[in-house]
Amino acid sequence: MNEQATIKRKASDYKSEVKPVWCPGCGDYHVLLALTRMLAASGTPPEDVAVISGIGCSSRIPAYTNCYGFHGVHGRALALGTGLKIARPDLTVLVMSGDGDGFSIGGNHFLHACRRNVDLTYVVMDNQVYGMTKGQPSPTTDPEWDSALAPGGTGIRPFHPLVIALASGANFVARAFSGQPNETARILHEAVMHPGFSFVQVLSPCVTFRPEQAEWKSQVHPAPVEPTDDPARAARRIMTDDGFNIGILYRGDRPVLTARATRDPAPVETLERSFAT
């Protein structure tokens, strides 16, 4: 742990020298930018931050930061991040993944991380497609989107990650757009500062497999109302919105799960007692 939190840091202090392998124009570049700006603003030393991810284009992000990182297996980032945060409550833990990683294969951990409400921040870079495996539909893809795996579309309605988060107990819910890195940095900052499990869906276009997402720039707009602290109201709002309102949508004060650390740990030898006859 480090006492240098007062040192003034720049976004570039949080960027590694590794050149991203993302396609030119990929939205994830801006997520990286927002993330490093947010961290600089927070002033947390990079060594006290851990960025945990799964597998996908988006999940490449940890190595592009100058923080501790874990590029785990597909879909399990939240579980890994939860273990880390409970074991090391002193760290700032950010779990970052994609819509396939987070909502398809990782859906169960999403549900239960929301419910558990450990103090970490979950960022999903949602491009409504599996980028890394070259263009298959994800849980947020619209039903008509044509692809090799689902010719003519899946016929399956996308689901609402933000509503799922609310229904399962997330303590902070927001939507951001990677094309607005400053606003995204601000939202991420609030997410990190908010106690408990914070979930941020970042719309982050895939220029290669979803070129039509270039439109997003003109579709997004600030959320028309202030964040609520009533999950039922927030859920209803989100279920009926157009999917493009950006901002913090819910701030809760549900009880945060922390390891109930014993103030005064007993020596291990005391555990032997129960076995004596």
């Binding site: 590029h71 945060k85 074991a87 109930r260």
Partner: protein, 597 residues
């Protein structure tokens, strides 16, 4: 398969063991057979005897038939005996369900309440001992436990049975009184009085039995005794080894490891988290350990199967974790409540890609303490996942033993104490252990990765990087120092009894008997399964012939040894899948038979 087909009948041809007495206590739903067994075990422990108790229950969660199998002895015992001296049945109603598991002979006693036609006894209607048990020739003794219990206000049949069983092995009224005081005391004076009276009636009945099996005092009657299960000992060893984080998803027969750890970790300043599934539990411990906190989970076959992908992640990213697999009958859901050694394949070779890791196996209930501690030590020092292969027999048996050895190591993960220039997480080092920076260490930042990576940790698909890291991860295991702990090697002879894990107790007892019979063998019991110490093993085998003993259907252990180029001669294989254990007498007979052929 020959005689292995009916191990009970076979075992019954073996003689009685002089140093121990074996009892089965049975009853149908709610009769209290398990309580009785537990109390008897405790009484024996207080006397300074040794012992072991296993349980067998039907598929019902509650209200099903139950049996407590006990072996009480004047010397340490690590397995059940070949045969039972007596069966004490609170009632015989579903006793046939256990017939497979109860080997009897003409020297055995079948003691129990036969019930009465049409009367309201516990037996409900008349229920004599079933033919499956009586055909052994065991002597039948009818004791009207129910009637006797009814003579005591608040008296229960199972307390009468306790007295009976206690008398059978030579425990005294004073010993039982003390026990009842301690255990029933909290329920009030009336309950204590009722239990004592019921127990006394049982003791009286014992006096009338045609034979008894009194046990003398043990050699060290005042030696300290622990009563402990393998699952508890595993938890204890892990915490002693340094574990302070556990993630849990319950599964039979591993749940007790987790349920023991939950309060224990809290006491010593650690934490246990319940996960949503095994995919989460293994990733949680990887996360905790990445953060520097030694971490564990426990599961059984189906859960291990779900963890396999992420076990490979721990191998590739070099994060130490311990995964306890308390094996049960497989494949698939299999037989959750019975023991088998058939997860050897998945534990050693279950990962995709070349993913060398540690696999260890405790050799007895007590050894669960040591081997769990050693597993943590090895995992931490080698930055590698360790699978600890316990099983239902070790995990759920209640043993009365002298306090087992803890593992005492100066365990130290090779971490990066402070900034160095150009730190590379996966550096190629002399000892193949790359210093690991823990989050919070300035200048140590890196990204752990399951992708093939360069020394820096950055993804690489270069042949050289791939091979270097594969070499390193293989070599760190092969070149590590395991001392003599990798196996127990005992005795001399022209034959090696080669086994692993929980079968060691039975093999050791067989070896002792063979030595006593002038036919000594060498026992080799592997505690370190992977990496396989092939050269050392070849050396302790020498040119002896080898009998490989294991509890699998396909011979997984035999095949595993052969895959390393060992046992090129013509080893014999004594194997059987669960649910029935392989008893010492079977091993003894297999050696004797081989000698004669």
């Amino acid at each position: 398969m020959g005689r292995q087909d009916d191990p009970a009948a076979f075992a019954a041809t073996r003689g009685r063991d002089e140093d121990s007495v074996s009892l089965a206590i049975l009853g149908s739903g709610g009769a209290g057979a398990l309580t009785t067994g537990g109390l008897l075990l405790e009484a024996a422990a207080r006397r300074g005897l040794y012992g072991m108790m296993t349980r067998s229950v039907g598929p019902q969660i509650r209200g099903g038939e139950a049996a407590a199998f006990l072996r009480l002895a004047t010397r340490p015992v690590e397995c059940m005996a070949d045969r039972f001296d007596a069966v004490v049945a609170i009632d015989w109603r579903r006793a046939d369900r256990f017939a497979d598991e109860i080997a009897l002979d003409a020297g055995s006693l079948l003691i129990g309440d036969p019930g009465k036609p049409g009367e309201g006894t516990r037996a409900g209607t008349e229920a004599p001992p079933p033919p499956a048990l009586t055909r052994s020739g065991a002597a039948v003794v009818n004791v009207a436990l129910s009637d006797l219990a009814a003579t005591v206000p608040g008296g229960r049949e199972n307390m009468v049975a306790l007295g009976l069983a206690a008398g059978l092995i030579g425990l005294t009224a004073e010993e039982l009184d003390g026990l009842i005081e301690r255990r029933i005391g909290p329920k009030g004076a009336d309950a204590v009085a009722a239990s004592r009276a019921a127990c006394a009636l049982g003791l009286d009945e014992a006096g009338k039995l045609p034979r008894r099996f009194p046990l003398p005092l043990p050699a060290d009657p005042r030696g300290q005794r622990w009563r402990i299960t393998g699952n508890e000992a595993t938890g204890l060893g892990a915490v002693e080894g340094g574990v302070r984080f556990a993630a849990a998803y319950p599964i039979t027969p591993a749940t007790e490891v987790l349920e023991w750890l939950a309060p224990a970790l809290r006491k010593v300043g650690g934490v246990l988290v319940q996960a949503e599934d095994e995919l989460a539990s293994i990733n949680m411990i990887i996360g905790a350990s990445f953060g520097g906190v030694p971490a564990i989970t426990a599961t059984s076959g189906p859960g291990l199967a779900l963890m396999i992908e992420s076990l490979g992640l721990a191998v590739a990213s070099e994060v130490p974790i311990v995964v306890v697999d308390v094996m049960r009958g497989g494949p698939s859901t299999g037989i959750p409540t019975k023991s088998e050694q058939s997860d050897l394949n998945i534990a050693t070779l279950g990962c995709h890609g070349d993913a060398p890791h540690l696999v260890l196996a405790p050799l007895s209930v007590g050894d669960c303490r040591f081997t769990a501690g050693w597993a943590v030590h090895l995992a931490e020092t080698l930055q590698c996942p360790a699978v600890l292969l316990s099983d239902q027999f070790l995990g759920q048996s209640s043993a009365v033993i002298a306090p087992p050895d803890p593992a005492v190591f100066a365990t130290q993960r090779k971490t990066l104490p402070r900034t160095i220039e150009g730190y590379r997480r996966y550096e190629l080092t002399q000892d193949c252990i790359s210093p690991m920076a823990l989050p919070g260490t300035a200048g140590g930042q890196y990204t752990a990765d399951g992708l093939t990576h360069a020394e820096s940790g950055l993804p690489s698909s270069k042949a050289g990087d791939h091979r270097n890291q594969l070499d390193k991860r293989q070599r760190k295991l092969l070149e590590a120092e395991y001392g003599s702990l990798w196996a127990e090697v005992e005795g001399e002879g022209d034959t090696v009894l080669l086994c692993w894990g929980s079968l060691t107790g039975a093999a050791r007892e067989a070896a002792a008997r063979l030595a006593a019979a002038g036919r000594p063998v060498r026992l080799v019991a592997l505690r370190l399964i992977a990496p396989l110490k092939a050269e050392a093993l070849a050396e302790v085998i020498g040119d002896r012939r080898v009998l490989v003993v294991e509890q699998t259907h396909s011979g997984q252990f035999l095949n595993y040894l052969r895959s390393a180029g060992l046992l090129a001669g013509a080893p014999r294989s004594l194997r059987r899948p669960g649910p029935l254990p392989i008893r010492p007498g079977e091993i003894e007979a297999a050696v004797m038979e081989w000698s004669q052929s």
